[in-house]
């Protein structure tokens, strides 16, 4: 209690001292260059007398003599206003690509985590409004030991690089959907003694229907390779297989798609269905060693700011088996930046 009283007194005393201080000197404005008349009985050109109140010498006005003095001058006309930037359509629904490309010189970065310990990263840049280049890590590629292994694990990190090109919506003719042709390829990844790679060629079209709805439809042509001890038993040698050798072109092709709806101005509901390769190292036949598994995702994207979005949702990695136990809840945050574009625009002027 004593301490509280002391604190209160200290606060009151400090306030009182502060109020007792004299007002700080206020700079006086220079005489009106336009020749406003001086107050009667005073000579503006006279030297200050000892009894006069102190005055602070202000800097000479920056404005020309005929303009009134402005203490807060407007920014120089040589700095142009920032042109309004259009909203950016995202290059992915949740896990599948869209037909929308990033605008030229716009950076896109996304980080993701899920309840299964998966971590992903994706970084892209728009090239000339007609292409996009990116590098990423994915946790969508899965592995199993053999046919009896009911639980598949993810292989991560799985590094990929991607390049997409296309045309924006309504660019060639009215009602034309945005179309993008993309190629994604992984670097060689080693997991549990096996080396694997994937490659994916996609063609996807995206179309807005009004302000609140958009649809994405596409097809993907997959390839993959797997190398290591693929046969059981003693004295077996390492060998490699490729998806295009053990599967038909029909098996390599898969349709994918997604929808997005905007029930609130800054919130979108997203649903998509895609595919991801699964490697089964000791499965009995080569055709079962590399397979494509359907992945269903649904979630919400919340646009926190024009440069930041938070996404969250559910991903079921093998919807074909209706395996709820392997489903994961994920959270993603993505950032977009017009910084490079601004710098380029300034350099052009």
């Amino acid at each position: 209690m004593k301490q509280l009283g002391r604190s209160l007194m200290l606060v009151v005393a400090t306030t009182a001292v502060a109020r007792a201080q004299p007002q700080p000197d206020v700079p006086t404005l220079p005489p009106d260059p336009g020749g406003a008349p001086a107050a009667p009985g005073t000579d503006p050109t006279a030297d200050p007398q000892p009894g006069d109140p102190p005055t602070v010498q202000a800097d000479p006005p920056v404005a020309p003599p005929e303009a009134p003095y402005d203490p807060y001058p407007a920014p120089s006309a040589s700095v142009p206003d920032e042109p309004p930037r259009p909203p950016i359509n995202m290059p992915e629904v949740l896990t599948t690509p869209t037909g929308f490309l990033l605008p030229a010189a716009v950076f896109y970065t996304k980080f993701g985590l899920d309840t299964g310990g998966g971590a992903t990263f994706d970084s892209r840049i728009g090239l000339g409004d007609v292409a996009e280049f990116g590098v990423a890590t994915t946790d969508a590629i899965r592995q199993r030991q053999d046919d009896s292994d009911e639980d598949s694990d993810r292989i991560q990190p799985y590094f990929t690089a991607s390049f997409r090109l296309g045309v924006g919506e309504d660019r060639l003719f009215k009602h034309q959907p945005a179309v993008a042709l993309g190629f994604r390829k992984s670097f060689e990844t080693k997991s549990e003694g096996y080396e694997s790679r994937i490659a994916e060629l996609t063609l996807v079209a995206s179309k807005h229907f009004g302000d609140k709805f958009a649809m994405h439809v596409g097809g993907a042509f997959w390839d993959a390779s797997l190398a290591g001890q693929l046969d059981s038993g003693d004295d077996v040698e390492d060998r490699s297989i490729t998806f295009h050798d053990v599967a038909t072109p029909k098996d390599q092709f898969r349709p994918f798609g997604g929808i997005q709806a905007r029930p609130l101005p800054r919130s979108l509901i997203l649903i998509d269905l895609g595919w991801a390769p699964e490697f089964c190292y000791q499965c009995a036949t080569d055709a079962r060693k590399i397979r494509l598994r359907p992945v269903l995702s649904w979630g919400v994207r919340y646009e926190v700011a024009s440069w930041m979005r938070i996404e969250s949702g559910v991903r079921v990695p093998d919807i074909g088996d209706a395996n709820l136990l392997n489903a994961q809840i994920f959270g993603q945050v993505s950032f977009t930046s017009w910084g490079l574009r601004r710098a380029i625009d300034r350099a052009k002027q």
Binding site: Q3, L4, S7, T115, G116, E150, D151, P263, L264, R266, S267, L268, I269, W298, G299, V300, R301, Y302, E303, V304, I310, S312, G313, V314, A322, N323, L324, L325, A327, Q328, I329, G331
Partner: protein, 260 residues
């Protein structure tokens, strides 16, 4: 320290005095009744927190954040499921780390009189001994509607569960549908008080057998002590459990508004 406490108490005491009267109806709605989920979502930018303790000293914590006004992301420690691993008749609750994602629509969004609807998914990602790899996943679809002083909740859950035996074999409960329901009633004479009742199904793990679902019925009272905080006193009964084994627990809920 005392100064900080005085300041906090002062702020807590003065803020309700400046606002409208505190009522349960005018306060943040929670995403569950007692055990059963409701269709209420946290508002955009709100963070709802919950702490609970029962008479066996089993506790739990939970946090849920509204996302964009149409979804909610949550994390909690869930002690609803019971385990019995070579323990005779004694079944003990264990905790799970659980994450949830729910997306839905508020009342009257599409049509007047439409109930709030939520499609939710909850999944455990960690569990305490003896089953480190025990897992539960649940999809629920719930409708909730306010009818004067009463709030009704009805829906269904699709639950899957599993664990790995000592032999390495995976023992699973295939996705199973069960109904759920709940009731909240705020008597007009006591606008801060809400009577609660609900029925839900939760997983149960018995040694050597596949996981099963058992019903849990709960009832209790929620008192809206502050606009942003409420206290609940609850009783929960389980299937195959005598009245004397019922669980009595206390919960404290707090809403941190508008972090945005």
């Amino acid at each position: 320290m005392r100064h900080v406490l005085s300041l906090v108490l002062g702020l807590v005491a003065t803020s309700p005095a400046q606002a409208e009267p505190i009522t349960a109806a005018g306060s943040p709605k929670l995403g569950r009744v007692i055990t059963a989920p409701s269709a209420w979502l946290a508002e955009e930018g709100d963070v709802m927190t919950t702490a609970q303790l029962d008479h066996r000293l089993d506790g739990g914590l939970g946090i849920a954040a509204g996302l964009g006004g149409i979804a909610e992301l949550s994390l909690d420690t869930n002690t609803d499921p019971r385990f019995c691993m070579a323990c005779g008749d004694t079944e003990e609750p264990r905790w799970f780390g659980r994450a949830g994602f729910r997306v839905g629509w508020r009342e009257d969004t599409w049509l007047p009189g439409m109930p709030a609807l939520v499609l939710g998914f909850r999944k455990t990602f960690a569990s305490s001994a003896p089953l480190d790899d025990a897992r539960i996943s649940e999809v629920h679809l719930v409708a909730s509607r306010s009818l004067g002083p009463v709030r009704l909740h009805a829906g269904a859950t699709l639950t899957a569960a599993g664990y790995t035996e000592a032999t390495g074999a995976l023992v699973e409960l295939a996705p199973t549908v069960r109904p759920l329901g709940g009731l909240e009633w705020t008597p007009p004479a006591y606008p801060r008080t809400t009577l609660l009742g609900d029925l839900a199904w939760v997983a149960r793990f018995d040694d050597g057998a596949p996981p099963a679902l058992e019903w849990v019925a709960g009832w209790g009272v929620r008192y809206q002590a502050l606009r942003w905080s409420s206290v609940e006193l609850l009783v929960r009964h389980r299937e195959d459990e005598g009245l004397g084994d019922s669980t009595v627990m206390i919960r404290v809920n707090a809403a941190l508004h508008r972090y945005r």
